[in-house]
Subunit: 160 residues, 6 copies
């Protein structure tokens, strides 16, 4: 992450480009991201009681996240297309909202942190859409990579 | 936001559905959302110096956000398709990261808070993708609606 | 549906084109389509017991159908883009499989039978995907428009 | 297809997820699906005479099917993205309608039955769209996998 | 097209944005674009004889163009979503290649020149894809708006 | 490119299909395409001065091109999906307009000329969209493959 590799990656005119990953190895890789949606007590109660007006909010958010993971290269302009091998999304309701954790797996030339982050973000957006008639103050936050494995940099767990 | 309208909206079996908005008026509507990406000092310096390895990070994030606003109904399962009339995205670099503000406008039967939130979220994801070789600890957060106008509920500004 | 209007619609060389609907009125329209997935007794039992290996099959099928309704003009080449106002999908498990009914609403210049049919078809496809580890003999069938309202031809119910 | 593998695949809370296929072998795989569109005699005549008002109905249906096969993971929520190697779609007009057969090929870790089924379904939808001004009673049915090869379960032909 | 309106449209920092069209009138609008694909004599002969290896090249190009017109706002980042009312694509084979003409219609707040240009461009790309096994020297060119009607600027025909 | 291979590729009824590439080798491949947008002197000046009303025209065109390269199989009906490894887009402003050059890389079973051509075409379309308020006479042209490497046919440079 020093000065040299960055300068070699930067194009002469500073313009955006999609980095060539042809020379990278195909290895099994996974990434886990987390985030949360802060909600009112009324919204948490509606989630727990299954009385969210638009229907099964957690189920919809989970599917939205999985589908968004597949669409990451369409959303993030310089992201490489990656063939995703598996996705799991956990949505845990607590007293202050919903904690979202997503793990994405592949065997490819480039990491899939962006897929995991996109999965969490869009699951959060879908949850806000489902609950917004009950709570217009919902906040999505803390979206970050918490662990990754595989690739040149090997296993990594975010110190928290 | 009382009990009665919610119960009438909920289907008998609690299953998800897209609410019928045919009876709502077409009015000029806008929504503004905010969020931010927390970054290391090194990453902030790279943004300010224009030395981000993958190129023009702020420009790419802005375009990603505008395009994502248009794709909101594709990402958020129960969102109605809305013909967007205008989008503006501001990315302000400060010492701790980048503050993102997006305003989306339309004249339609339903609000566009979700479009504004999706715009901010995906701009944030694209920014993290651009900068992740420099800062693997980036966190996206504080994504929320801060103001809206038009529609039955009229103008609203989030008290902060 | 006589000879004359068809001949005026046909291009001289018989090539495909998207019919101009500018002159049609904007009216409230709805369409209801039905279809079913024939399944084995084992698969029906798994749906009823909630033991489908890949998870909540009916919930996933419902969301897939709603999202596909929105993507109809992307899938059906000569279909006009229509702003959908509401979608409801019912999945009823019986001893021989699952009956799927979808109602789609809009206020536009052209009907939305194709959106209702696409919704039912893709809900059926998603259901087959969820259950295929249990039943590789699933058959999707009987996909048809059963009722429509609005537009020049007015209300119509399929005689069955 | 016994109880044990299903239980190990099912998540503790029964929620939907995309199964991890990393451990599966990359092998050449193909799947063939069939289905048909039942049509009136008038519609069959229009297809045979090339007088369908919107143009070349069979050609449009074929292209729609091929493109839909590529978009399967976008439509079917828990489907893995698969790099398709080839697609063939046959549309055979008979006195009662059109028989649709699609064969899809790949070399990947997971089967492509869903791609073949999606191809047939969307070819059927596009055909209905082309012909609906002539026949509003069209029915799409009999959509099923008729053969597959490759993968752990090897070659398989549906007994009919 | 003077200096004043441009300066008011330009944001202070020169960053890209989607112009707000809320104040523009909804009027019937159409745009016609043209372009051509230059081909070898062998390729022209294959088109005329119907012996292009991958199949019906002109039919595929026409469908590709119509579908691309619908996807314009997804491809052109700052383009407004517009509900297209009709599309016609003409492909005329001459001794030097294929002349492509597309007319797109709508009734909306903003013009659809970009939809017509996108239709011609992608029809050209699809044609090159169909014929590239026969002619690897194909060139797509002359893509331009030749006429438009409706909107504030009224009818306009390109002087040629 | 003789008669024999073409005849074996053609289906009996001449209908379109996606050629099976399963038997082709996975090799590193690249393709470079070029094209240009002819512009008025006023438009060239606006690009050079950074006073294009809608913002950073060259940056937006570059991103549009990169994203379109990834979406090629969605736009070009019979194109195989290919996992792109890298994309670079150069936009060079000269006195008559903008010269666009794109290089796309992969390691797959089939070439990526179509991805490079699509990248150039859509970059051109996005540029026209950005500048059309200044110059309604813009023409996109000269879109062609100029070099490719890898695959059965090996390295190739277009003689010009």
């Amino acid at each position: 992450m020093g000065e040299a590799p960055r300068l070699t990656h930067l194009r002469a005119d500073g313009s955006a480009y999609m980095v060539d990953v042809s020379a990278k190895d195909v290895t099994a890789r996974s990434a886990t991201a987390r985030g949360r949606v802060d909600l009112s007590g009324e919204a948490v109660a509606a989630l727990r009681d299954g009385t969210v007006p638009k229907g099964d909010a957690l189920g919809v958010a989970r599917i939205a996240g999985i589908q968004a993971a597949k669409r990451t290269p369409d959303l993030v302009p310089l992201c490489h297309p990656v063939a995703i091998h598996g996705v799991e999304v956990d949505l845990e309701v607590d007293d202050g909202g919903v904690e979202i954790t997503a793990t994405v797996r592949t065997a490819d030339r480039t990491g899939i942190e962006m897929e995991a982050l996109t999965c969490v973000s869009v699951a959060g957006l879908a949850l806000v859409d489902m609950i917004k008639a009950v709570d217009r103050f919902a906040v999505i936050g803390g979206i970050r990579v918490v662990a990754k494995s595989g690739g040149r940099s090997g296993d990594w767990v975010r110190p928290e």
